[in-house]
Subunit: 111 residues, 2 copies
DNA sequence: GCGCCAAATCGAAAAATGTCAATGTGAAAT
DNA sequence: ATTTCACATTGACATTTTTCGATTTGGCGC
C-alpha cells in the first residue's frame, strides 16, 4: 500500500542514529550544511547523501543562498508522521481476528 | 550516542512498510503468527524474521502458548518512542549556531 | 577571466537487509 | 512413539544502503 510506503520513508530516514541526531540539531533552528558537518566525523559527500535522504522523505527542507545551503525541519511532515505513528499504534476496533480464520486457538474465542 | 542508537532501532523496524502494517494489525489486539501470515504474500521464514526485528527493538512482545506464538504491542516502548520523536523534532533553545563557528553567513547573525 | 569555496554527484567497495527453501525444534494429536 | 503442526534458524542469494575519494557545478571575490 502507498499509505504505508509513503509514511515509512520518514521512519527509514530516522532509523539511522546520525540522521536522527541531525534532525535533533535542526529542531533548534535553521543550520547550514557546513555547521552540521563540523559536528560529525564523516566526509562531506556522506553528509550530503544523508541530507538528501532527509529531504526526500520530506522531514527536512533545503534553502539555497549563494554558495550555502540551509536546512530546516518541515513541520507539516513532522505532524503527519506523528499522526501516522499514532494511527498504527493506538487501539482500534477493526481487528482481523474477528474474521475467524480458524488457524489458531485465539481465532474462535469470540463465537 | 547510545541514546540515539537505542531509540532509532524502533524507527528502523518501522521503516519497512510490511512491518508497519504488522504493527497496525497488532494495534487491534493480540494476534498469532499464523493469522498475520495469512494477510501477507511472504514465506513463513520471512515473517518470522520480521517478527524477530519487531521484538528486538521492543515494540512487539511475544507470548508462547503451546505450539502457537501470540504477539502484542508494547505500550511502554510505544510511548518512549513517541517521546523521543517529539524530543528530536520540537523546538529547543540550545542551538549549536550560538557557538559562532564562522563557517557560513548565518553563524554571525547573533553578535 | 581566474581561482576558491560550498555542496552535489559519480563510481566503487564494503556492509547490511530482505527473501526464500531447507532444516531444526518443541508441543500436540494419533 | 510417530506424525503433524507452528514457528525459529540456517545458508544462500540479490538488492539496498553506507561510505569514501574524486569530480562536477555554481556562486563569490579578486
Amino acid at each position: 500500500m502507498d499509505y504505508y510506503l509513503e509514511n515509512t520513508k520518514v521512519f527509514k530516514a530516522l532509523g539511522d542514529p546520525k540522521r536522527a541526531m541531525i534532525v535533533d540539531m535542526l529542531s533548534c533552528g535553521e543550520l547550514c550544511a557546513c555547521m552540521i558537518l563540523e559536528k560529525f566525523e564523516m566526509s562531506q559527500s556522506t553528509l550530503s547523501h544523508h541530507m538528501k535522504i532527509l529531504c526526500e522523505c520530506g522531514i527536512v527542507k533545503a534553502r539555497e543562498e549563494g554558495k550555502w545551503t540551509y536546512y530546516t525541519l518541515d513541520d507539516d511532515t513532522i505532524s503527519k508522521t506523528k499522526q501516522f505513528f499514532c494511527a498504527i499504534t493506538s487501539n482500534k476496533e477493526n481487528c482481523i481476528c474477528k474474521e475467524n480464520s480458524n488457524c489458531c486457538k485465539g481465532c474462535n474465542e469470540n463465537e
